[in-house]
């Protein structure tokens, strides 16, 4: 580590940032690959099936117990899925608008990754904060980037130049724009309570005063905490539903609506271009799960065993544990996403819009006023 200390602070910053980007991106892509497997396994279990259990690797498969177990688990399926994506024919239909057709997958993939940059995925390791960009306007940045994701879908629908993708793109854009409003409004109570836009500060506040979704443990009981419980719950529920809609998950599966639109906006895509939409979709889910963990579920903190404070020097295991806690919460949300998929049928388009504009947005507005009122009355 001597050569690291010899570098200037700027170089060190660049080095560690690049290192963090590499690690986070690698981990995220792996998680995305395994989220696809988890999705298939969870749906299989809910439908009384066994799910993917075929792929066997030559050497590892012959290890007595483990090899068979991993095969049964479908552990290698993401690997072959990825290889398959790459070696499939990348077919560009003759009738598409070529530039947008090539641009759309990238545009839908990149915002999902950019959102992760401001998420504090752990406390500290050594002297490094476990967040790629510790922005003071973290949440504004997130919402700005998330709204870019709509362009990928819209462009894909427009570029494909055929009926079903077009309909899928139109529906998805209307849906995503509507629910973004509800989503943005649902987090305002959080900022009223916390008083910061920095996601790290939000986690610190939650460590001291209890999680935003249910602020009952942590800061002890007071009239204010009790009055803020419904506000936090309503905020979280609206944010969660909007996150489902933003990531185009069932029951708000308007962009794809397989039963009506073949596969919606990416009907005309094949090979790795389709793969990029797929990765983007799952990366978006991870981003949504990470946002919910950070905003409402205390990020990397747990309110017991002293896990709610950043580790002091030398406690690197605690830093790793914090990353593990964050991942655990995030994966819990991912499981809930997959679970809900098999729980509820898809909303009809008008019902979706009705829910968004006539239920969610007024409710979110009322919640802002309620929270502000509670805070004003209890002197904060």
């Amino acid at each position: 580590m001597a050569w690291l200390d010899s570098l200037s602070p700027q170089t060190q910053f660049v080095f560690f940032t690049l290192l963090k980007i590499g690690c986070v991106l690698g981990l995220l892509l792996t998680l995305v690959a395994y989220a696809v497997l988890a999705e298939r396994k969870v749906s299989a279990l809910i439908q009384d099936r066994v799910g993917p259990n075929r792929v066997n690797l030559p050497l590892i498969g012959s290890i007595p117990f483990l090899g068979q177990f991993l095969t049964k688990l479908g552990f290698w399926h993401p690997l072959v899925d990825g290889v398959k994506s790459f070696i499939k024919e990348d077919f560009t239909p003759g009738h598409v608008r070529k530039i947008y057709f090539w641009l759309a997958p990238a545009i839908s993939l990149v915002p999902a990754f950019l959102v992760i940059a401001v998420i504090p995925f752990g406390s500290t390791l050594g002297a490094q904060k476990m967040v790629i960009a510790d922005l003071n306007v973290g949440i504004l940045y997130t919402f700005g980037i998330v709204s870019l994701g709509v362009y990928g879908v819209v462009l894909a629908g427009y570029a494909a130049n055929s009926k079903f993708p077009f309909l899928g793109g139109i529906r998805a854009s209307a849906q995503m724009i509507s629910y973004e409003i509800a989503m943005g409004m649902s987090v305002i109570p959080v900022f009223l309570v916390v008083g910061h836009l920095n996601l790290g500060k939000i986690i610190e506040h939650q460590a001291q005063n209890g999680w935003n979704v249910l602020p009952i443990f942590g800061g002890g009981f007071s009239a204010q905490t009790l009055l803020l419980v419904p506000c936090g719950l309503v905020s979280f529920v609206i944010f969660f539903i909007s996150a489902l809609a933003e990531t185009n998950r069932l029951p708000f599966d308007m962009a794809e609506s397989e039963s009506e639109l073949v596969s919606g906006y990416h009907t005309e895509y094949s090979s790795m271009k389709f793969g990029m939409f797929f990765i983007g979709e799952y990366a978006n889910m991870f981003a949504g799960a990470a946002m919910m963990t950070t905003l409402f579920f205390g990020g990397w903190t747990l309110p017991f065993f002293g896990l709610d404070v950043a580790p002091v020097a030398g406690e690197w295991w605690k830093g790793l544990l914090h990353i593990g806690i964050f991942m655990g919460k995030m994966l819990g949300f991912m499981f809930t996403f997959m679970w809900i998929r098999w729980m509820l049928p898809r909303f009809r388009y008008d019902q979706l819009m009705d829910l968004g504009w006539r239920r969610m947005i007024p409710l979110a507005l009322a919640n802002i006023i309620l929270t502000a009122g509670v805070l004003a009355l209890t002197n904060r």
Binding site: V42, A44, L45, I46, Q47, D48, R49, V50, W339, W342, M343, L344
Partner: protein, 185 residues
Amino acid sequence: MIVKRNALTWFERLYLPAIIGGLKVTTRHFLNTLTTKTPVTQQYPEEPTRVLPGYRGAPYLVRDQDGATKCVSCQLCEFVCPPKAIRITPPGPTGKPADRTNAEKMPEEFEINMLRCIFCGLCQEVCPEEAIFLKSDFSLTGLARSEMIYDKDKLLALGGTHPGIQKWKHKLDEAKEQETFPVKV
């Protein structure tokens, strides 16, 4: 009949009862499949699938209990076969005699093109000798089209034996008895 649809109560319109109901169902199925490990999936190539009696698989020729070819080359199945999958070469006047004494003849060659066969079972239905049966095989594979034309030897080997009344043997017995007329009691 007019089904009366009650208006939803305000509680039902919150979607909450539906969501809780869905939660229950999916959780039950998830945990059941996870713990008891009894999914409905049949692991087909590893676990051979069972077919029920009466299943119409591939048609094969059968032998009687004495190991003789039952087919008498009457060509009824060839005529009735809707996709014309069966081709029979009769022995002709100079051909090999039948396996069974007293049976008129047996086919010199009997071919079923399994690529054409639609497993309809009309050949089995029309056969006066109970010589062809739809067995339980359903996945026939080959590396070439020529491999999928099953000849007489293959069909007989796959069909196995099917014990029956053996009418030609009885006719032979009766004929022998006729030789020592009047019949000894």
